[in-house]
């Protein structure tokens, strides 16, 4: 396929995934903010949202304080900043328009409908919690429907694999960053088991990736910090985990290599990260330092994104 088309497809998938991720963060934060301060609903949940979305520098350049109003305006995009949900949707739709021939009608309509919906959404409605919740639900639904449409209607050729690569590179990045921001919550001190206050923080991490209920089906006990980390990094059963994302990335890159008859740096990088994840257990994870692990993972994931671009999209 045309390199430029593959590039648009890769990025529109990333932006759609990113929009969902931002919507989940905002949704969870709204929930947390509504709780009494003894349960984690302290003033700095909004600051935490910005950190989780890895938008501190951008936010601080515009706003001096992380209040609810400012953070909502920023993440939703009422202030038209380029890191917002609004920009993700606009960019995804613009990319989709440029590659009409590589996406199916269903995929186009989902993004176009969301974009049209965005044009009709009033800022005043978004500033109210209920209005914002409805908006966020629509954004998350857009991502699910888009993903479903891609899975159900795309031909299993290189177009499909590039679409999936974009989704999973972004997903891995977002999940690792989410964990990294919260690592100090996940691992307060070596001996500290954590009390009721931290439970809502750990649960909110799981909620951000829609994994709270599934956690209980895997571990069958209450939420514990090191198990949250284990769940979202090392568990193949959890579709949002880093190892799940890399299993997918590895598979799709191999399919591309087969189709094109050539292996390259992208395949090698995916394979090595996959092997590293498969050979880590949670004890090793915490011995070497969760934060260090995640920082290195994020950097490697970025390198994989670059390798894909170099190898196929330029």
């Amino acid at each position: 396929m045309l390199s430029r088309m593959a590039d648009h497809l890769f990025w529109l998938s990333r932006y759609t995934e990113r929009a969902e991720n931002l919507a989940r963060i905002l949704d969870v934060t709204q929930r947390l903010a509504a709780m009494p301060s003894a349960c984690g609903g302290a003033g700095n949940v909004w600051q935490s949202a910005i950190a989780t979305a890895a938008l501190e520098d951008a936010f601080n350049a515009r706003y001096s304080e992380a209040t609810r109003v400012n953070v909502v305006r920023f993440i939703a995009g009422i202030d038209d900043n380029p890191h917002s949900i609004k920009t993700c949707i606009e960019t995804a739709r613009a990319n989709a328009r440029a590659v009409r021939t590589t996406i199916t009608t269903e995929m186009w309509e989902i993004l176009n409908d969301s974009w049209n919906d965005l044009q009709r959404t009033k800022a005043s409605e978004l500033m109210k919690t209920e209005g914002m919740s409805r908006f966020l639900a629509r954004v998350m639904e857009m991502s699910l429907r888009f993903d479903g449409a891609a899975y159900r209607t795309m031909l299993r050729t290189d177009q499909y694999w590039f679409q999936r690569l974009g989704t999973f590179v972004e997903r891995a990045d977002n999940t690792a960053r989410l964990l990294d921001v919260k690592y100090h919550v996940l691992l307060p001190e070596k001996e500290h088991v954590g009390g009721g206050l931290d439970y809502f923080q750990w649960a909110s991490i799981l909620r951000s990736v829609n994994a709270l209920t599934s956690y209980h089906w895997v571990y069958r006990r209450s939420v514990e910090p090191w198990l949250v980390a284990d769940f979202l990094i090392l568990r193949p059963e959890q579709p949002r985990s880093l190892i799940s994302s890399y299993s997918a990335l590895h598979e799709y890159l191999d399919k591309l290599a087969d189709a094109y008859g050539r292996q390259g740096p992208a395949q090698r990088l995916a394979r090595s990260t996959m092997a590293k994840l498969a050979n880590t257990d949670k004890d090793k994870l915490f011995q070497s330092g969760l934060h260090e692990f995640l920082t290195e993972f994020i950097a490697e994931n970025n390198r994989l994104g670059d390798a894909i671009i170099q190898q196929y999209l330029s």
Partner: protein, 476 residues
């Protein structure tokens, strides 16, 4: 529904107020359907078009607003008898256009025979001298023609204009059909409407048939678009998608050793046929406008070497300006030895002194158009203009007579449209699309009906308040 008696030929309603046979079922439907329901269907149509994204940005508009070309839900109906007549005429006309272009870039026999003045060809801004050295595959220049037709009475169709460069609108023809089938399934089912959805198959077959001899095996066809900010972008992506060909921009293509390649995820891949929706001027910065970023450096060299086919060929504009239009009856006779099946509108060439005199004396009855104009701009509709406007135009005419032609105001046929007060007649034209391949000439039944939505207006162009309708060809 209001029945207005008009001096124009209304395609649906006879002068005695009854519906013509082809429209009988539609008339019954209109009579029996509450206005609000028709209005709902009309609104659903707009929603459908917005959803699929057949919208465009106009430079200067808000970033978030995209426009639609208005669609009127009441179909326009032609009979198979009428269509067969049109089709024969269209094929004949396009054959003559191709023969003319071949001749003007070749032996110029028609000029030698004194039939068409030399300046009209050689000084024509669309004349591309490079084409005198290039012989396109199958001697076909106009692979895709959009011939604009108007009707003045039940049996009289005129060709209003030939569009031989990058005629557009076919995506509307196809999507209008989709909309009508979805929104009026019962009414549609009452008729046996000739299908149009095979257009893109025919287009692909046409393009493949003109692949250069140097192409090996399956020819690779691409559609070259100026990009997503072009107002016809939807059509470019729609056609490429339906044909299963890559939608490319200039920057995706690369010429090496006079062969055109496209940049794919697997490296460079040879391109054999380019259906280009980029104007001549912008095709190759090494040959034409050097500032163009829409084209491909070296494309003309590859074309000249016979390694790629460009559809429509470069330089076809030499046959579709209004001055050449006025010679079409003679052109047809010269190359085909036949009388034109479809008549030309009588045309006065203002470059000829006697014609200029006549035109100036009769401005209030004539439509005066710029020879190289398009989009309905720069023209004078005599009967609708004020004295001041006519005076202004007369001055323009006297200053540069060779830039104008004049025609009588045609009483274009009308078809009912859904308007604020119910239904009312509006003027329409028809743009069928004629595909000329090395193996066959192909034409989908009907074409795009364009309608002048403003009451009394004769201008159907979308840039000036025009809309479109679905066109049905039914047994009759």
């Amino acid at each position: 529904m209001s029945k207005t008696s008009t001096p124009f030929f209304d395609e649906m309603t006879a002068p005695d107020g009854t519906a013509r046979e082809a429209y009988a079922a539609i008339e019954r439907w209109l009579q029996s359907t509450p206005r609000e329901l028709v209005a709902t269907r009309q609104a659903e149509a707009e929603h459908f078009f917005r959803r699929i994204g057949i919208t465009f940005n106009v430079y200067g508009d808000d970033a978030g607003t995209e426009r639609l070309i208005p669609f009127d839900i009441i179909p326009r109906v032609l009979t198979t008898t009428q269509w067969r007549h049109l089709e024969r005429g269209l094929e004949q006309r396009v054959k003559a256009l191709n023969a003319f272009i071949k001749d003007v870039y070749g032996q110029r026999e028609i000029i030698a025979a004194g039939i068409v003045p030399e300046e009209l060809v050689l000084q024509n801004p669309a004349f591309q001298a490079e084409m005198t050295r290039i012989r396109p595959a199958g001697d076909i220049y106009v692979h895709i023609a959009g011939i604009d037709i108007v009707r003045v009475d039940p049996d009289t169709f005129y060709v209003l204009e030939d569009n031989a460069r990058t005629p557009s609108g076919v995506s509307y023809m196809l999507e209008n059909r989709e909309a009508t089938m979805r929104l009026l399934p019962d009414l549609f089912g009452l008729h046996r409407v000739q299908p149009v959805d095979h257009y893109t198959d025919m287009l692909l077959a046409t393009l493949r048939s003109v692949a250069p001899r140097s192409a090996s095996g399956e020819p690779t066809v691409v559609l070259l678009t100026p990009g997503q900010f072009n107002s016809a972008y939807y059509e470019h992506s729609f056609l490429a998608d339906k044909m299963g060909v890559e939608l490319v921009e200039g920057r995706d293509l690369h010429v090496r050793n006079n062969i055109v390649y496209m940049r794919t995820t697997e490296g460079l891949r040879r391109v054999d046929v380019i259906y280009r929706r980029v104007d001549d001027e912008f095709l190759d910065p090494l040959m034409f406008n050097p500032a163009s970023v829409l084209g491909v450096p070296g494309l003309m060299a590859a074309y000249g070497a016979g390694n790629v086919t460009i559809a429509n060929a470069v330089g076809t504009g030499v046959c579709d300006d209004k001055a050449i239009y006025s010679f079409m009856p003679e052109i047809l006779k010269f190359y085909l030895g036949e009388e034109p099946i479809l008549k030309n509108v009588p045309t006065w060439r203002c470059r000829e002194p006697d014609s200029l005199k006549y035109v100036l004396a009769n401005l209030s009855e004539l439509v005066v158009k710029e020879v190289s104009g398009s989009g309905g701009y720069g023209m004078l509709v005599g009967p609708q203009a004020t004295n001041a406007q006519r005076g202004e135009f007369a001055a323009k005419l006297k200053a540069k007579p060779e830039a104008f032609i004049a025609q009588p105001t045609l009483a274009l046929s009308t078809v009912p449209c859904f308007v604020e007060d119910g239904t009312a007649p509006r003027h329409v034209d028809l743009r069928p699309y004629v595909l000329s391949g090395a193996d066959a000439v192909r034409c989908t039944p009907g074409g795009l009906t364009r309608v002048a939505l403003k009451k009394g207006s004769l201008v159907v162009n979308s840039s000036q308040g025009g809309g479109t309708k679905d066109t049905w060809v039914v047994e009759g």
